[in-house]
């Protein structure tokens, strides 16, 4: 049978954290320990999945990708596929398989099983599985403190493809996978419900989550095999411990839930935790990955010596630096604003679905062009060169997603309204050519400087004309451990030197 495994992995954790004590203070209730990750107002499950998928596919030519599967319970659209958008951003071919797996928290592990089977069946060689969630706990509820936002992605490939592309073998081999389907009213949310509801949590943990996770895991561990690393996402640390205990998996084998640092990341959890597990994995390790929700999936993997080499080549993303590089939200109000729990009435943004569609190559996979006469790399694309006016056709050029700030401003005037918190806008010279003018996000405006290194990040700019207008913004290129804190709301005009 065709050998399948993980070729690349990526994890994305939004920049902002909310200390749970801030939530506790806001409502006058006990706070759980630690902090949770909070997506920015310009992020959603799709954009977080893109971030993770871009990292996971860093070592893969987009032309080699045969499929993209996106799993989430908080996909931006009820009717419109996110996987097709993600595939376009990744610059995939058109003749590929794209699937959105929704409605179940085990969507990511199910996607991995589907991807493996698809590859084994010979209808694909490389499939990207990505997942992200930004579930909303009701204000004042335990879920509000427990949930965290994140995205994860893995690239699954056949061993044949990997060896054909200069790799000795797959970094992680998938040994076996299995699953169970079961019915219990655990957490749920219907179309009219904004916040996640749940059945009595203790009953769900015992008879839903734990029972199903154990059942699935037992099926791949049935030869008495013990994993050296166990990726067992859970609603909370106690539930995880219960599953481990039933499976007789020692505590030190359990992969961190990241409950204190990120929170329960829903559908993304298995991939986020797997990224964490692979940071320290060594050749010979067996890794159990579980995903639970209306049943459960379990996948058993084995780490090969190729993982070490893959780490060096940039195809294996890490999680820890993203946990460390973070900014602290100053208040519950900041969180409430970014999640639109309180919303200012802003002027509606204008958009055109037709214009957006026509310019997809420059909006999503970020294509610019190179003048065939003077060689200037430029953006946006046009019929004539913006420097020497030479007529086209010019050469389509994929722009780099890193660069430096050439000049910037902190703009308080947004569509005729004065905003206390300015929008940083920067002219960015991209590595390898091309100049982009974009908003900067996920930063304290006062940290922006000329020459500051930035990287481009995929965001939802606005919802003009009723659809999500996705595009790129810049963010400071963070070094691990370097974070900051958000200026208090209303502090407003701070900037270097003021």
């Amino acid at each position: 049978m065709t050998e399948v495994g993980i070729f690349g992995i990526g994890a994305y954790v939004p920049y902002w954290r909310l200390d749970r004590s801030i939530i506790g203070r806001a409502w006058g209730i006990p706070a759980m320990r630690g902090e949770r990750a909070v997506a920015s107002a310009d992020e959603d499950a799709l954009t977080m999945a893109v971030e993770a998928a871009l990292e996971a596919t860093a070592g893969v030519s987009p032309a080699d990708i045969d499929g993209v599967i996106f799993a989430s319970t908080t996909a931006p659209y009820r009717e419109k596929q996110s996987a097709a958008t993600i595939a376009t951003v990744l610059d995939c071919r058109k003749d590929i398989l794209t699937i959105d797996l929704g409605d179940s928290l085990r969507g990511a592990t199910t996607a991995i099983r589907i991807a493996c089977d698809t590859i084994r069946a010979g209808s694909a060689s490389v499939v990207v599985v990505c997942a992200a969630d930004m579930r909303q706990g009701e204000p004042e509820s335990a879920y509000e403190q427990m949930f965290g936002d994140a995205g994860g992605a893995v690239v699954l490939a056949s061993a044949e493809w990997a060896t054909g592309h200069g790799f000795a073998s797959l970094p992680v081999r998938v040994l076996t996978a299995a699953g169970v389907a079961d019915e219990i009213i655990g957490p749920w949310r219907d179309e009219s419900q904004r916040y996640v509801r749940s059945f009595e949590a203790k009953v769900d943990t015992q008879f839903g989550y734990a029972k199903q996770a154990v059942a699935a895991a037992s099926r791949v561990l049935d030869h008495g095999r013990k994993p050296s690393k166990a990726v067992i996402p859970a609603p909370d640390p106690r539930a995880q411990a219960a599953v481990a205990s039933k499976l007789d998996i020692p505590r030190e084998t359990l992969q961190d839930l990241y409950f204190d640092t990120i929170g329960n990341t829903g559908t993304a959890a298995p991939l986020v935790m797997l990224a964490g597990a692979l940071e320290t994995a060594a050749a010979g390790d067996t890794v159990l990955v579980v995903g639970a929700g209306d049943g459960a999936d379990a996948i058993l993997m084995e780490v090969s010596p190729a993982l070490e080499k893959a780490r060096g080549s940039g195809t294996i993303g890490t999680l820890t630096p993203k946990i460390q590089a973070r900014g602290q939200l100053a208040s519950y109000e900041s969180y409430a604003r970014s999640r639109r729990l309180v919303e200012r009435e802003r002027a509606p943004m204008w958009s055109s679905a037709v214009t957006y569609w026509r310019d997809i190559p420059m909006e999503l996979p970020l294509y610019g062009m190179t003048c065939r006469q003077c060689g200037t790399v430029q953006y946006p694309t046009g019929r004539r060169c913006m420097e020497c006016s030479a007529p086209g056709p010019h050469e389509q050029t994929k722009l780099a997603r890193r660069g430096r700030v050439f000049t910037f401003t902190l703009d308080h005037l947004v569509l005729g309204e004065y905003w206390n918190e300015p929008k940083p806008r920067a002219v960015v010279d991209l590595k390898g050519g091309g100049r982009l003018f974009c908003e900067l996000t996920d930063c304290d405006p006062s940290e922006v400087t000329v020459e500051m290194p930035v990287e481009l990040t995929f965001r939802c700019l606005h919802e003009g004309a009723g659809f999500r207008n996705y595009y790129w913004k810049g963010r400071p290129l963070r070094t691990p451990g370097a974070g900051g804190s958000e200026p208090a709301v209303g502090a407003g005009t701070s900037a270097k030197g003021s």
Partner: protein, 390 residues
């Protein structure tokens, strides 16, 4: 190109008081300015053969009717000119060319904008245009990009910018038609709330209403009108257009504006000006933001690249300096009713040359320059006017 040097005369000028004209609409403002211009030229409105009106915002009027309707001039050519913030001076250019061609005897160039009716802060947002995801920076933000870069390259500071605001506000005190007639201090300017870093409230021109009008004829006709031989000659007018997207252009240094540099070169050539710093008596330049005025000095050749702040701090651009700039108070004190500003600059410059400035009078002015810049530095119109007797 042969150009229009000395072939066109400014025979009369008029303008409204600028400011928050809540009680007036665009019709009131335009009529007020045109009535004053006709009276100044000594003509009847019915003597006007053709109209060019500068209006930028769509709500002010969609066509040449924006002038024909208020004035009730029907059955004659009337054309709306829209060219960003340089709409007013481009209306003037079109009128000049019509007269120079010999087709039109008496032309009206005018501009009007009624911005305060839109409410909001800053310039009104333009809905239903542009691109879904391309950035929509505010006007101050587009010029702040130049300030930030200039700070980085030249070491300029917010205190340097404040010198422009202080100078122009001091000039505006004396002008009866200015929106703001109050002197300010450097401290006030520097500590004002930020609009688009590094530009604060006093670095930005205000949102104001206003209209301005200019009567243009051939010199032979002007001689027989109210000012007789004391009319003003158009020595040059040049318009240069660059990209509306300079922020994407790799060669854009953000230390000045190519449109100004090009328009100035064309205008100097047409007027025969070799050394602008010496030959130009005064200039009304587009100080939409303080940084713009400093960069204008350099782009217009009043000083070398990087020496704009030096020229300013030496007092050379203050009244009594070698080249006084914006003795009217400029956009800083008049605000910027978009379509009108270019025409107002022609009004101010004409009156200076005739020795009847409404505010500070420059002594022995013989050659004046007016500079109107639009968009993110994308469109520039430069006009050079001269006294008839020199």
């Amino acid at each position: 190109m042969p150009g229009i040097k000395d072939r066109v005369a400014v025979a009369g000028v008029g303008y409204t008081r600028y400011g928050e004209r809540w009680e007036s609409d665009a019709e009131d403002l335009l009529v007020e300015a045109v009535d004053e211009a006709c009276a100044d030229a000594g003509i009847e409105q019915s003597d006007i053969d053709a109209i060019w009106v500068g209006i930028f915002y769509p709500f002010s009027g969609m066509a040449g009717t924006g002038a024909a309707d208020p004035l009730k001039i029907f059955g004659k050519p009337a054309t709306r000119v829209e060219n960003y913030c340089a709409s007013g001076m481009d209306a003037f250019r079109n009128a000049c060319y019509a007269v120079a061609s010999g087709v039109v005897d008496v032309a009206l160039a005018c501009g009007v904008e009624k911005i305060t009716d839109q409410g909001g802060t800053g310039l009104p947002a333009i809905g239903g245009r542009g691109h879904p995801v391309m950035p929509t920076p505010s006007a101050p933000a587009m010029f702040a990009l130049a300030a930030t870069r200039s700070f980085h390259v030249h070491g300029w500071t917010k205190e340097d910018l404040a010198q422009v605001a202080v100078k122009n506000h001091a000039n505006g005190v004396h002008h009866p038609k200015a929106h703001f007639r109050r002197a300010i201090t450097v401290e006030q300017a520097v500590s004002a709330p930020i609009v688009a870093w590094p530009l604060g409230r006093f670095d930005c021109c205000a949102v104001s209403d206003g209209a301005a009008a200019v009567i243009i004829t051939r010199p032979e006709t002007a001689k027989n009108l109210a000012h007789a031989d004391d009319f003003v000659r158009v020595k040059a007018n040049a318009l240069a257009v660059h990209t509306a997207w300079p922020m994407f252009k790799s060669s854009m240094d953000y230390l000045g504006f190519p449109a100004t540099r090009d328009a100035a070169a064309l205008a100097y050539e047409e007027a025969g000006v070799k050394d602008p710093a010496r030959e130009i008596s005064f200039a009304e330049v587009h100080d939409c933001f303080t940084i713009t005025e400093i960069l204008n000095y350099q782009d217009l050749g009043f000083c070398k690249e990087g020496e704009g702040v030096h020229l300013l701090r030496e007092g050379q651009t203050s009244p009594g300096g070698s080249i006084p700039v914006n003795v009217s108070g400029g956009l800083k004190c008049f605000g910027h009713p978009i379509g009108s500003t270019g025409c107002r600059m022609i009004v101010e410059s004409t009156k200076q040359l005739q020795g009847r400035a409404d505010g500070v009078q420059v002594a022995d002015a013989t050659l004046g320059l007016a500079h109107n810049l639009g968009g993110p530095g994308a469109v520039c119109s430069v006009t050079i006017l001269g006294r008839n007797d020199v």
